[in-house]
């Protein structure tokens, strides 16, 4: 919805799988471990937009959805994004990452026409998939076989070559070679039925695993009312199918809004909404191209299915035990179809959101506003894994029940006065109190008794944990705006907050802001001309605070009720010093931003420019600082360090053609944000922001761009030439080295809109320049020889290869020949991380839409007030300029899940293309 439309706002999805989380970052990352997600304010009160992830990126976190999913896009009237701190200061500490102001139709204060509107849309949802080669089949070293890898010969070669033509794989089904005797016996009938087997290529084995999902969205909206009372009622229903079976989303939204003028002085606006979101998906988790890392993931092994494996045709389960069966003799790959049938994850959310404001006119100049918001939801997430898989062999069932409630109260006293003919004054004084409470119960069970039954009492071992978390923040704020003669505007604001998350001495923080704007074209009327219609110059300085999460200031003990078992079976309990060191001196962090902008309209409004440059510093950064374990602790939350974000945002608008019947509008957006880590408190050299323990991941390193990717690279000599070992292989570095900066150098989008009579035609192109990407899909597909890039046309596997390096033993030029399998698997893509790094530059056709509104004259004869129809497509095409073209990989992907990580793609799902139409009827 917001993607690419507003400079400075970056929106990225976890993957194209329906219902998965979304990251929204405005003006870059300003915190290492804290949240960088903006504050959602709906109808004037905060709206929780968390993504409750059940585990990290290797523990299945990627299937969780983000809670702003509960909003009904059809009931949104307007969205405003506040980016600068000068604008967000009165929203409190959570406004530091920007504020997304949403006004729903129900919460709108606008006068309402008596109207009834029905909107129906139908879309298709398909995956962007790699382009496979279909000559070479599974094997290794050109030797035919059933491996993870596809480094075998072509079938034609295999039939001719003497070393291969007696290979049993040519004439036997792989299930005849299962090592496990019982499993093999279970498939004997099937194997017999396809004997004598003839090996063949299945060109669509991966494509057929995916499907075309359909998305239906219906919404109705009714509004009306008289002079004193008006209402709005909305209802929406979404049924979305993902591009893989058993994945989708069902959502019901109900909304009610009332505006009432109770007297001449008192008016009230209230909106109430209910949503029910039901998301379901097979499990998704990170993978490196060799099964999923620690947790099952349906897509971990699909993309690199060897070409001779009939994923959709062969049996996927044992006929009696219903255990997973697949092509490798050790049966150590879970069959993706088995996972689809037997592993499910669900998330059901019931949410009630209500915003009410009372406006009382105290006197001519003075108004009192009271707003109260309640946002409460319950979320039930489940992992339901039947026994018989490769991991969680005996089955696994996990339930996570969350209740989250936000109460928000605000009182604002507004004062507005015309002081003189030229001088206007507006002032606000307010107080706000917000209480967040969170309660969760997490139960995991293992060792399933009966298949397909998911109740904790159908499992032998149950482990439960539960907890609550509560946080209160209070603030008072004030704002004064002075407007002199409509060309000079001064705004002063400040907020003082108290938080419950730090010890008493450090509770309070004051953060002010000021901004000044000047409109020369109004101040000096002579300046305005046909060329220069409008010019505005603004400058501002804003501050904001950040509070730590609760419970970081005091030490606790780890307790385990079942730490060990005695031989008798009796449980042994334990206490241990918790490895997080409480920091009683923790205090809020302070963000400061300087902003300067120019806004101008030229050539009678045909050309417009809005340019902003900013610099934002975060000081006393609240960081979960890793400690040397030798201190006895692993981390503490502490105020250290400084991150600076500097950026430019440009929006250039133009109207090349403007005729009564035909208009062409162009918008060019440009965003550049450079985050740099300036200081980490002097002791720490680096902090891993996200990633795998001590190696691959995003890092904050002093003097480097934030989120620098480090991983295992290749050893090089002083001249930078790679070192090669005695076997002709590259030698990996012993530890992680810097591999790339994942922050794009800049991002632009070009939006074109045409209107011709009742028709509209819009399209949006976007371009991302740079930004390093670590890709498991690239690693798995290139390292295992699957795509066109390693196919017969482009890559002769019969040749040998020599790495252009020097021998590590004596420094002489390398002359050792190695094979294609060695290059792909044993060197570039599976040994070390450097081979999986790419430049993420991508050009994309983000959106195309054609709309038509039936002319009024024609509509008049029908019972309708208006009829409009549109056809649109989203994410229709893209090209990553520096990735092998056969991969067809989307560089916008959050392999690490929603959070502060960046630049990782971990086989959690290709991106989706959506095409469809919308019909809107107004009665």
């Amino acid at each position: 919805m917001l993607q690419g439309k507003i400079p400075g706002v970056s929106v990225t999805s976890t993957s194209g799988v329906s219902g998965t989380g979304t990251n929204i970052v405005i003006r870059g990352y300003s915190s290492i471990n804290g949240s960088n997600q903006p504050l959602f304010v709906v109808d004037g009160v905060p709206f929780n937009s968390n993504t409750n992830q059940r585990g990290g990126f290797t523990q299945g976190g990627q299937s969780s959805s983000s809670r702003f999913l509960d909003l009904d896009p059809n009931s949104i009237e307007s969205v405003t994004v506040l980016k600068g701190l000068a604008a967000t200061v009165t929203y409190g500490d959570q406004g530091r990452n920007g504020v997304i102001l949403v006004t729903t139709k129900s919460g709108s204060k606008k006068a309402r026409k008596a109207e009834f509107q029905v909107t129906q849309s139908v879309f298709t949802n398909t995956a962007h998939l790699p382009r496979y080669q279909n000559d070479y089949v599974g094997g290794y070293q050109q030797n035919l076989g059933y491996f993870f890898s596809n480094w075998g010969p072509t079938i034609e070669e295999a039939l001719i070559y003497r070393s291969q033509n007696t290979n049993a794989a040519l004439t036997n089904h792989p299930y005849a070679f299962l090592s496990n005797a019982a499993l093999r016996a279970g498939q004997a009938d099937y194997v017999k039925s396809v004997s004598p087997y003839k090996i063949a290529v299945f060109p669509n084995n991966v494509n057929d695993f995916f499907r075309q999902g359909n998305i239906f969205n219906t919404s109705v909206n009714a509004s009306g009312g008289g002079d004193n009372v008006s209402y709005n009622i909305s209802a929406g229903y979404l049924d979305e199918q993902g591009y893989i079976p058993n994945n989708g989303l069902k959502k019901l939204n109900l909304g009610l809004g009332l505006n009432a003028k109770l007297s001449n002085k008192l008016s009230v606006t209230t909106s109430f909404s209910y949503s029910n979101t039901d998301q379901y998906s097979p499990p998704l988790s990170g993978g490196g191209g060799n099964n999923a890392y620690d947790f099952p993931s349906v897509l971990a092994n699909v993309m690199y299915t060897p070409r001779q494996v009939d994923l959709m045709g062969w049996p996927y389960e044992d006929p009696t035990t219903k255990n997973s069966v697949y092509f490798r003799s050790g049966n150590d790959i879970p069959n993706p179809r088995w996972i689809l049938e037997n592993y499910k994850t669900t998330g059901v959310v019931n949410r009630i959101f209500s915003a009410t404001s009372f406006n009382y006119q105290l006197s001519k100049d003075l108004t009192l506003l009271y707003k109260v918001g309640l946002d409460t939801y319950s979320e039930s997430q489940e992992f339901k894994f039947n026994k018989g898989g490769v991991s969680f062999v005996n089955g696994y069932y996990n339930t996570w029940d969350i209740q989250n409630t936000i109460w928000d109260n605000t009182v604002i006293l507004g004062y507005s006065k015309v002081l003189s003919k030229k001088l206007n004054l507006n002032a606000r004084l307010g107080g706000n109190m917000r209480n967040d409470s969170y309660r969760n119960v997490f139960v995991s069970s293992q060792n399933q008794l009966a298949r397909d039954l998911f109740r904790h009492n159908n499992f032998i071992d149950n482990v439960a944990s539960d907890g609550i978390q509560e946080e209160t923040r209070m603030g008072i704020f004030g704002e004064v705006t002075v407007d002199y003669s409509n060309y000079l505007f001064l705004n002063l604001a400040g907020r003082n907050d108290w938080t419950s998350t730090v010890e008493k001495e450090n509770r309070r923080i004051l953060y002010p802001s000021a901004s000044l704007s000047f409109v020369p074209t109004s101040a000096f009327p002579g300046l305005s001309s046909d060329f220069l219609n409008f010019l505005k110059i603004r400058a501002g300085v804003g501050t904001s605070a950040g509070f730590p999460r609760p419970y970081q200031t005091r030490n606790i003990l780890d307790q385990s009720a079942r730490a060990w078992l005695l031989p008798s079976g009796a449980a042994v309990q334990s206490h241990a010093v918790n490895n997080s060191l409480g920091n009683p001196n923790l205090r809020p962090e302070l963000h400061t931003e300087y902003e300067f902008g120019i806004e101008t309209k030229l050539l009678k409004g045909l050309l417009g420019l809005d340019l902003t440059v900013y610099r934002r510093d975060t000081r006393d950064l609240i960081t979960s600082a890793p400690l040397d374990f030798a201190t006895g602790y692993s981390a503490t939350t502490i105020n250290i360090g400084k991150i600076r974000n500097e950026g430019v945002e440009i929006a250039l608008t133009g109207t090349p053609i403007s005729r009564p019947n035909f208009q062409w509008n162009v918008t060019l957006n440009y965003t550049r944000n450079a985050p740099i880590v300036l200081d980490l408190g002097g002791t720490l050299k680096e902090v891993q922001v996200s990633g795998f323990g001590g190696a691959l991941g995003n890092y904050a390193i002093v003097g480097k761009p934030f989120n620098m990717i480090k991983g295992i690279g290749y050893r090089r000599n002083a001249e930078g030439t790679v070192l090669v070992d005695g076997g002709g292989y590259l030698v990996s570095t012993p530890g992680a080295i810097e591999l790339g900066d994942p922050n794009p150098a800049f991002q632009t989008s070009l939006i074109n809109g045409f209107t011709f009579k009742g028709f509209t035609f819009d399209f949006m192109l976007s371009y991302r320049h740079g930004g390093a990407l670590y890709s498991s899909t690239a690693g798995a597909l290139m390292g295992r020889g699957l795509t066109l890039d390693t196919g017969k046309e482009l890559y002769d596997r019969a040749q040998t290869f020599i790495f252009p390096g020097v021998l590590q033993s004596d420094g002489t030029p390398n002359n050792k020949q190695i094979t294609a399998s060695d290059v792909g698997f044993n060197n570039l893509y599976f040994f070390g991380d450097e081979g999986r790094m790419y430049d993420g530059t991508t050009i994309r056709l983000q959106e195309v839409s054609i709309g038509y509104a039936i002319p009024k004259k024609l509509v008049e004869k029908t019972p309708f007030k208006a009829i409009s129809l549109s056809i649109s497509g989203n994410n229709l095409w893209y090209k990553a300029l520096y990735l092998p073209p056969g991969l067809n990989l989307d560089t916008d992907n959050l392999g690490l899940g929603v959070g502060n990580g960046l630049g990782f793609e971990l086989l959690t799902g290709p991106s989706a293309r959506r095409v469809g139409g919308t019909l809107k009827l107004t009665f």
């Binding site: 730090v502 606790i556 078992l565 241990a576 010093v577 400690l627 030798a630 030698v731």
Partner: protein, 550 residues
């Protein structure tokens, strides 16, 4: 007017701020530090050491060819990133908990608790020095100091000795109550004293290169005191169970391999070859306990074992095995420093056996491993066994001329090793399988043991020099150490034995790692830390020449 607004606002602020509770600082989901229970704390320390032992033992086993080392050069085998877990388990895990335990225990006169905590701290400190050299100690485990400086390895070792001495003193003192929940000895103080003394033996033996005289007199004192581990019940071993989850009490080597899909560790070809033949012409009787063959013949398929059609590299000697441990019997692991990818051999490669991992006894079943197979993971970590004590005494008698006859000690060490391997196996659910297989095949355990021991003693007798005799002792110690890489790594650096270890696959694997690199976390988080230039840096007690071992 302005005044009125001010007043109103002030009132508002006062009501808002004071009426509400901001005291939400104690974590409502956790136990506070004041509620620590001494027995529960001790359980953390004792179970924690199982993990610590496993973390240190692992690289020791791999470097000394007890298990495959999956890197192509030594420098990568001991990379900084791979040691974070060892550092964290030692300091943030055990030492932090010990520091919390000892004051409570000593204040409450719970001396057994205090003694056990000190013995375990001593073991952790010695592990740290044995593997890293100079490490933080005096300034460590202090929340007020984020940058603890290193102490000399010798000083930290001395602190470990002081802990052992203090522990013995505590065990001898009158305690208000025992530690019956102790997972090692059920609180038996005599056994703990023997364990502490045996660890002192290790301490002095490691130091013998730099202080022969001091070690000689100290070891003689230990011998005359005669309070070393000498019975099966006195063995210092962490005992695993068979529970799958909540908690997983299975031996970690078992848990990583005994799955429906197999996989897990590759065994070392040369270690298996030593047990299969070792130049004797007959098998070590322990071979069926140490290893489980998932297939009793060697594969011919290059897809399963790429090297099977390759010829032995030129830098391998005539005695060195290559690719497989034996020509045909299915003992199939990996050669030293092999970092190849994983072919579909997960239900074919040789697995851990019943000792010490609690796996399957090898009765020629010719079947893959599976979940719960064999002894279900009810194995042990052999931390300090009575046989190790006798091997150390044999080495000491031979090299330092301490009390006792090296040959007699070698004999008793071997016999104790055989007995302990056998008794562990017969104490599990595999017992009936063993007895019926032996009956079927006419295997006479006692005779086989005697035959083996006699052969070794004959080798010892004909060994022409002290060095050659030491090689016999050390080779047997290495074999008996199965599952204990810590002492194996110490032994190899201290004696250079067993000699003739299998070379790395690459002719240039770089120099042998005489210590590990410091962990990455330590180097990046502690501003006093300085990484070693190479892993050839020797620990304080290792004064053997550079390039002394490969």
């Amino acid at each position: 007017m302005i005044h009125k607004i001010k007043m109103l606002f002030l009132m508002l602020a006062v009501t808002v701020v004071s009426s509400c509770e901001l005291d939400l600082l104690d974590n409502p989901n956790a136990v506070t530090v004041n509620n620590a229970d001494i027995n529960y704390l001790l359980n953390s320390v004792t179970t924690g050491y199982a993990g610590n032992f496993n973390a240190f033992s692992d690289p020791g086993m791999r470097l000394t060819r007890m298990l495959n080392q999956g890197s192509v050069i030594y420098d990568n085998a001991v990379s900084p990133g791979s040691s974070d877990g060892r550092w964290s388990s030692s300091y943030a895990g055990i030492l932090a908990d010990v520091s919390a335990t000892i004051p409570i225990a000593e204040k409450g006169e719970l001396f057994v608790h205090a003694g056990i905590s000190r013995v375990i701290r001593a073991m952790v400190l010695m592990n740290l020095v044995d593997y890293f050299g100079d490490v933080p100690y005096k300034e460590a485990v202090d929340p007020a100091n984020f940058n603890p400086a290193v102490d000399k390895g010798a000083d930290v070792y001395a602190a470990a000795l002081a802990d052992l001495n203090k522990a013995i003193e505590k065990f001898n003192a009158k305690s208000k109550s025992g530690a019956t929940g102790d997972l090692y000895y059920g609180g038996n103080t005599d056994s703990w004293i023997r364990a502490a003394n045996s660890l002192k033996l290790k301490y002095y033996l490691n130091r013998r290169l730099i202080d022969a005289a001091g070690s000689t007199s100290a070891i003689n004192a230990l011998i005359s005191e005669n309070k070393l581990i000498s019975t099966n019940a006195q063995n210092l071993a962490f005992k695993y169970g068979t529970n799958l989850v909540n908690p997983d009490t299975r031996h970690p080597r078992y848990a990583g391999q005994y799955l429906p899909t197999g996989g897990g560790d590759y065994q070392s070809n040369s270690y298996m070859a030593q047990l299969y033949d070792g130049g004797r012409g007959f098998q070590d009787p322990r071979i069926r306990y140490y290893f489980y063959r998932q297939t009793t013949s060697n594969t011919k398929d290059v897809n399963e074992l790429r090297c099977i059609t390759l010829v032995k590299p030129n830098h391998y000697g005539a005695k060195d095995v290559f690719c497989v441990a034996t020509p045909s019997a299915g003992y199939w692991g990996r050669d030293h420093l092999n970092n190849e990818g994983i072919p579909p051999d997960n239900l074919k490669r040789t697995a851990w056996g019943i000792y010490p991992a609690g796996g399957l006894y090898d009765n020629d079943a010719n079947r893959g491993v599976s979940l719960g197979a064999g002894a279900g993971g009810a194995g042990i970590h052999p931390i300090m066994m009575r046989s190790f004590v006798d091997f150390m005494l044999a080495e000491s008698a031979l090299t330092l001329k301490t009390t006792g006859d090296a040959r007699v000690l070698l004999k008793s060490a071997l016999e104790k090793s055989f007995a302990d391997v056998r008794s562990l196996a017969l104490g599990t659910s595999e017992a009936s399988k063993i007895t019926s297989f032996e009956a079927e095949k006419g295997i006479k355990w006692a005779e086989d043991v005697t035959k083996y021991v006699d052969y070794v003693l004959a080798q010892y007798d004909i060994a022409p020099t002290t060095d050659a005799k030491l090689d016999v002792i050390a080779t047997e110690y290495w074999v008996a150490l199965r599952g204990n890489g810590i002492e194996s790594y110490n032994l190899y650096r201290r004696t250079g034995k067993p000699s003739g270890q299998q070379p790395a696959l690459d002719p240039n694997p770089g120099p042998f790692a005489r210590s590990l690199y410091y962990p990455l976390s330590y180097v990046t988080r502690n501003n006093t830390a300085k990484q070693k230039a190479t892993a050839t840096v020797q620990v304080f007690w290792d004064n053997n020449p550079a390039n002394f071992i490969k």
